[in-house]
């Protein structure tokens, strides 16, 4: 999956997924980069569809580290917002938030706030820079 950095704050960055497929906000410590982060940086990472689960596992985020190549990690989270377009998910262990269109979510039940979800995710790696209007 690829995305474009749209906001940079002291401790978080906001990444717009290519193809208008979502917005992800993550802590800066999940980013692999040799340089300072700016708006327009291109990111690469793993990210799967989101599955609503009724019985969540004991997910382990210990592999979300930047000292090795990015690898997918099965994570959990909770739906914090549902609207006609999208859901927003708070990732476990304060690893950020994900907003994706409803068709990105697979669910056996009607979407509601508070539901458990699982998905694969990884750290992000900077792979380039694009000049975009502020």
């Amino acid at each position: 999956m690829g995305g474009l950095v749209k906001e940079v704050s002291k401790d978080r960055i906001k990444v717009n997924l290519h193809g208008r497929l979502g917005v992800i906000t993550v802590p800066r410590y999940l980013i692999i980069s040799d340089e300072d982060l700016y708006i327009g940086h291109e990111m690469e990472f793993y990210f799967s569809y989101i599955q609503v689960v009724e019985d969540p596992y004991d997910y382990d985020s210990s592999d979300m580290k930047t000292d090795h190549e990015i690898t997918p990690c099965l994570l959990g989270g909770n739906i914090t917002q549902v609207n006609d377009t999208a859901i927003e998910v708070k990732i476990m262990n304060d690893l950020g938030t994900i907003a994706v269109p409803r068709r990105w979510a697979f669910t056996p039940v009607t979407l509601e706030e508070g539901q458990y979800v699982e998905f694969y995710f990884s750290c992000m790696r900077v792979i380039g820079k694009r000049d975009i209007p502020a």
């Binding site: 999956m1 717009n16 997924l17 193809g19 497929l21 209007p133």
Partner: protein, 591 residues
């Protein structure tokens, strides 16, 4: 993972590889062999290296091992007491699919038919992250003489529709809306009354973009909508006038400047953000009337918010439609559309799965005016149940798309009024196009299944010989897409699926009937990119799908081919049918 006897029979001509360490004295059986379906993944992961000296499964079954052999090691003759004799001609069949891909013209001439396409997109067991490999098959197979071609159904015209394309050479903003001498003048103050048509719409702005001025910044492209109006009859019959050389383009943000249905960066320079010439897009020489809407804060992700922008734009278009009704300008093209029955020919329907999860995942069906909003019903409000329209109703603008979110794969309003599959199937005198079914894609899995079962009953009642099923974009809609294919398949109806899958949209489910598929992707990396209308049903996609359906109906076997999406396969198929090459767009998305 060892294989079963049944699997073994399907892979007799594949390489023989031990699944686990095996010791001297073992008599080799299916339980000792690795599943050939996993070889490609294993090779890519560096777990397996095939050997040119390796034997095939049929050559090793029942042989005795002379020495210990490690797991995932090709079995060679020097470790066996004997090698089974097999006919060498069989080896050619093993790589048949690949050979056909590479030598498509020869395949065609060898069978002497009209060429057959097989593109298979297999199922993925589970999405393990978007960068993992999930089976996507593609391939080409020879054509068989089609019974379809031998029948000649008697043509009976049910409805006639004439679409008069009226030349528009310029568009201006002025004091009064009018059309004169090919020039549309739009009352620039109309935005003030249009904005009052929905309380959620806070402001509207119009500007004119000429073909040579497209390198300008644009907010998210919500929709591209033609200007068309009825002058005689209802949708699907009579006479419709279509303004030629001009389209509306709707863009939008909310009061905070947040892009409507904000989901990533799609705004940018117009010349880089639209695939001009594709069915849903502006054409190369079209003048674009940009209607930019600002809607109420935080309403961009609700159903009423984006709809307000569409509704208010439609008010403006209606004023132009009213002028177009009376305008007797130059007719650059008169398009005769016929709803026909061709009794005796194979009865087919086109099924278009449209988004139905809410907000812009919705469509307005059968408005009063072509491509309009007023008078139509939203498929979400209708429960996403299947609805059948005549081909002419579709070609007369019965669908106003509130448009799915992905720029590249969404089918915008203009797409439907000139949908290549509808055009292709309707024009094909070897087929009897019974109708076009629209079925929504709900959110929840159970609802998807419920809707799909209703579709199945409808298909059964129509006594069909073949169906083509398309879906818009990818995601959870692939669940019902595959279900729909199953509903047709289990009733014995030959079925072809059409979708964007490629790399990013690989199928997450499958069934035994989902064996013939056509790929829509035109992105080099196989991703949903930011170019509006890039990876949709095109004329080429439609031609491949129709030919594939004919071959399926003729009973030609579909053979699995490559596991991963490969554009070479698509181009081999294009070549067979004499279609132009599918050139992928470099959008910077590489895997």
């Amino acid at each position: 993972m060892s294989i079963t006897q049944e699997t073994l029979q399907h892979h007799l001509k594949d390489p023989a590889i031990f699944c686990c360490r095996r010791e001297k004295g073992l008599i080799i059986s299916a339980a000792d062999l690795e599943d050939p379906g996993l070889f490609e993944d294993m090779q890519e992961a560096g777990l397996l290296t095939l050997s040119s000296n390796g034997l095939r499964i049929e050559q090793v079954i029942g042989s005795t091992l002379l020495t210990d052999v490690e797991a995932l090691t090709p079995i060679t003759s020097d470790v066996l007491d004997k090698v089974n004799k097999v006919e060498e001609s069989a080896k050619e069949n093993v790589s048949e699919a690949l050979q056909k891909i590479e030598t498509a013209p020869e395949v065609k001439s060898r069978v002497g038919g009209n060429g057959m396409i097989h593109i298979e997109i297999g199922k993925a067991e589970k999405f393990e992250g978007l960068k993992l490999d999930v089976p996507v098959f593609a391939g080409v197979a020879p054509a068989a003489p089609s019974e379809v071609a031998q029948k000649s159904g008697e043509k009976k015209v049910i409805h006639n529709l004439v679409k008069k394309h009226i030349k528009i050479s310029d568009v201006k903003l002025g004091k009064k809306t009018s059309i004169k001498d090919g020039v549309i003048t739009i009352n620039k103050d109309i935005v003030n009354s249009a904005v009052t048509k929905d309380i959620l719409c806070k402001s509207l702005k119009l500007d004119i973009i000429y073909p040579n001025e497209r390198h300008l910044y644009t907010e998210t492209i919500m929709d591209v909508c033609p200007i068309a109006t009825k002058v005689q009859g209802e949708l699907g019959e009579g006479i419709t006038k279509v303004a030629d050389g001009v389209v509306f383009m709707l863009t939008g943000v909310d009061e905070d400047g947040v892009q409507v249905h904000e989901f990533g960066s799609s705004q940018g320079y117009l010349d880089e953000k639209m695939y001009f010439g594709h069915p849903g897009c502006a054409d190369e020489n079209d003048i674009i009337i940009r209607c930019h809407a600002i809607i109420q804060r935080l309403s961009g992700m609700t159903r009423p918010g984006p709809f307000a922008a569409h509704k208010c734009q439609d008010y403006i278009i209606q004023e132009i439609r009213d002028e177009l009704k009376e305008y007797e300008g130059e007719v650059v093209r008169e398009e005769i559309c016929e709803d026909v029955r061709r009794a005796g020919n194979p009865r087919v329907v086109l099924i278009k799965e449209i988004m139905g999860q809410g907000a812009m995942h919705d469509n307005v069906i059968c408005p009063i005016e072509p491509c309009g909003v007023l008078g139509g019903q939203k498929n979400v409000d209708c429960g996403n149940v299947p609805m059948i329209l005549t081909p002419n109703q579709v070609r007369d603008g019965s669908i106003h798309a509130l448009t799915c979110i992905g720029p590249a794969t969404k089918e915008m309003t203009r797409h439907y009024i000139r949908e290549p599959l509808v055009e292709g199937l309707a024009a094909d005198d070897e087929l009897d196009l019974v109708g076009v079914i629209f079925v929504g894609s709900p959110q929840v899995n159970d609802e998807k299944l419920w809707v799909s079962e209703r579709l199945g009953s409808m298909l059964e009642s129509l006594d069909l010989d073949g169906v083509i099923i398309t879906t818009e974009g990818f995601g959870n809609n692939h669940i019902d897409f595959i279900q729909h294919i199953g509903q047709a398949g289990k009733r014995g109806i030959p079925v072809v699926g059409v979708s964007f899958c490629a790399y990013q949209g690989q199928l997450v489910v499958g069934n035994e009937y989902a064996t013939a598929m056509v790929e829509e992707n035109m992105d080099k990396g196989g991703f949903e990119n930011d170019i509006a209308g890039c990876s949709c049903v095109t004329v080429e996609v439609a031609a491949r799908a129709i030919q594939m359906l004919k071959n399926r109906m003729a009973g030609v076997e579909v053979k699995p081919a490559e596991k991963k999406w490969n554009n070479d396969v698509i181009n081999a198929n294009n070549k067979i049918l004499g279609l132009p090459e599918t050139k992928l767009v470099e959008s910077g998305t590489l895997h």
